[in-house]
Symmetry: C2
Subunit: 416 residues, 2 copies
């Protein structure tokens, strides 16, 4: 099955919005064992949308379109869809009623211009959406076209409600059984992973998906018999896990901060963070996880020396003696935040994120990361590469990974 995505909107082609809808749809399609072959982004003009639809229909079996379904004059996807397929735009009365009902429920005024949304191509089936704008599906011969709204939250809902069930039926209905898994790795480079996985079984497909600073591996198994395919996938996952050891930190939807959080919760541990060069990013990542208040006690962003002294108890003489970017200061910061907060673990970063501030002794990218627990403080020196944002991101990732490794009983230095 060839699947293509078309995302519509000037904000996407002008580079103003990351195309999260394309990512959302790709994930959903991959999760059902199918593959995206092409993502096309075009602006809001009807002609361009018609052209993109024509081309996609000629190539693909399933087409997923996002954007341009709203009530404003810029939203012209339904019109383009009708034109591309030679259909009329007609008022879908049931859909109109659903819309009006929503507006009532959300205490919004239904204006005549909102009625425009219910004009969809003849023969299209509305896709009701409990959290916002609906979409619709159009079939053209054996080809299926889904039209989703442009707001990612609304797309997400419709993917779950409409696309996943459709794909499941479509793929199960067909002969091929496809199962896939996503494995997330942090530590080695792509070529390092390839070396570790050299000669692994060849009855599966393995794709490398770099996602800085991580590398994700997609493993796909295909066949005609579900049990056999699942067993083969499982065998392969196990072998990869065995070979990669501690480098493999998660699977599927898991993220590094989520894995560290889960471990903290399981071990009934708590954490506090003292950040200098990461500037709040570690705390931000930890608190992106729902429920993190159960284990995250506090964060301190000690940019100034005064803050290091006052909030973390790092003495001025220590600061003067070793300088703020040093092994000793990272040590004191991690210990200080741990003791001050009463947390099980304390993590600290101090370094030069750049692009300015580097010296011949302490170059840009030099970061000390410390982890303090009841019985030890472990400090390590790193030299990261890249711009300010990349250095911050890499340092935050290493810090979270150090927490994870500590909690599973693997030191920062251990190799699988």
């Amino acid at each position: 099955m060839r699947v293509e995505i078309i995302t519509i909107g000037n904000e996407v082609i002008s580079g103003h919005t990351a195309d999260t809808n394309a990512a959302l749809l790709s994930h959903a399609v991959f999760s059902q064992g199918a593959e995206i072959t092409r993502v096309v982004s075009v602006g809001d003009e009807v002609e361009t949308i018609v052209e993109a639809l024509h081309e996609a229909i000629a190539r693909a079996d399933l087409i997923l379109v996002t954007g341009g379904l709203g009530p404003t004059p810029d939203d012209r996807t339904a019109e383009a869809a009708a034109r591309a397929l030679g259909k009329k735009l007609t008022l879908h009365k049931e859909y109109l009623e659903i819309l009006k009902e929503r507006f009532r429920k959300w205490h919004l005024t239904f204006t005549p211009s909102d009625e425009k949304v219910a004009y969809i191509p003849e023969g299209a089936v509305p896709l009701p959406n409990p959290v916002g704008m609906c979409g619709f599906r159009l079939d053209e011969g054996s080809k299926n076209i889904f039209f989703f709204p442009g707001v990612p939250r609304e797309v997400k809902e419709l993917v779950q409600e409409a696309l996943i069930p459709f794909l499941r039926a479509k793929i199960r209905g067909g002969k091929e059984i496809v199962r896939s898994a996503l494995l997330k790795v942090f530590g080695p480079t792509e070529s390092g992973i390839k070396e570790i996985l050299h000669g692994i079984q060849d009855d599966i497909e393995l794709a490398y998906l770099p996602s800085f600073p991580e590398i994700h591996l997609r493993v796909v198994a295909r066949g005609v018999e579900a049990k056999e395919v699942e067993a083969r996938l499982k065998r392969c996952e196990d072998e990869i896990a065995e070979r990669l050891g501690v480098y493999l930190f998660g699977t599927g939807d898991e993220v590094m901060e989520g894995v560290a959080g889960r471990l903290l919760r399981e071990k009934k541990s708590t954490i506090a963070v003292a950040e200098s060069c990461t500037g709040g990013l570690i705390a931000h990542r930890i608190t992106e996880v729902s429920g993190s208040s159960a284990y995250f006690l506090q964060g301190v962003v000690a940019y100034s020396n005064q803050a290091k002294e006052q909030l973390l108890g790092v003495s001025q003489s220590t600061l003067e003696r070793f300088g703020p970017v040093s092994k000793e200061i990272a040590h004191h910061m991690a210990q200080g935040v741990r003791e001050g907060s009463g947390a099980t673990l304390g993590v600290a970063t101090t370094g030069i994120a750049g692009p300015k501030g580097g010296t011949s002794i302490t170059p840009v990218g030099r970061v000390f990361i410390a982890l303090a627990a009841e019985d030890m403080v472990e400090v390590k020196k790193y030299d990261f590469f890249g711009d300010r944002h990349q250095v911050k991101l890499m340092a935050s990732e290493v810090a979270l990974d150090r927490v994870r490794r500590y909690l599973i009983g693997q030191s920062a230095y251990s190799k699988p």
Copy 2:
């Protein structure tokens, strides 16, 4: 001039990497007054790349390709380019020398497989890159195709070194003069802005580019005489600025945290942040700006009540009386972090980021944001919409905007 982008890589179509290269290239093209009409993303297979190149050549005048130029067997863009244009892949000796020189400089071993990179289509012109992988340019009749590497940092460099000068010459060489500006707005919705700008001069193009939680406006003026076009653009920018007033926070590359930072620097002011529901995001954003250590003193992420008491001096009786998500606690947090740090300004957030933790009295999305200065503390209540990440992002944006407005003498409540 029709400009299209092709981004190559399985990691892009699988939704694993945000397509930052497409955004980078779009910005560069827009900055020179041209427009992107289409962005196509395909995987690593030669056939698909050839097909995408053929289609783009049929439609566009300038094609910008990223990805697939590296030394690994997955990197097959040069091969696809040669095939699409009916050329041979040949070893470019000068390019090979440049490569070898780079490897020497960076203390890397040049292996036989690295030589592959220097095989480019006959007639292609290498684009030297001081920070990494080179690209090349191919001309086909009046059409030009740029091939860039896949690493955004390397693309960025080549855009400055090769693409921008090319576009400048191409556009100046032509008859049409194009000037554009990007205006960044925070506060009103898109339809709110449209109402404010209703009836604005019609001799310019105005595009709305939502970039949550901001709305960006691209203003484009075209004509044949540079001075006239520039004057027309300036007049329009001035009128938009006049009408939008305090809602217009920046232009071009400026970001909210950068504008707030610039104002802090100009006013010789300093800032300290006390975060609960934003969990470190405000500090992270402030410290994304190079040089922020000049005005950012400290951040405190006080997730637990104990942290609010210990780090910010919010008394337990106050916490018990008003509850942690309240006007009073925001007030005390902002005042506490300001006084504790000695900063000119203190900012604080407390709220329910969700998706859990809401009650009928304090629903998910409810956030109190306080700004403390020498002579006042101003607290405001907000009800934000969306998931955990969106609530955090919106709250951090409002907090930074409040700082900005205070520094330009506009209160949080003032309208333009």
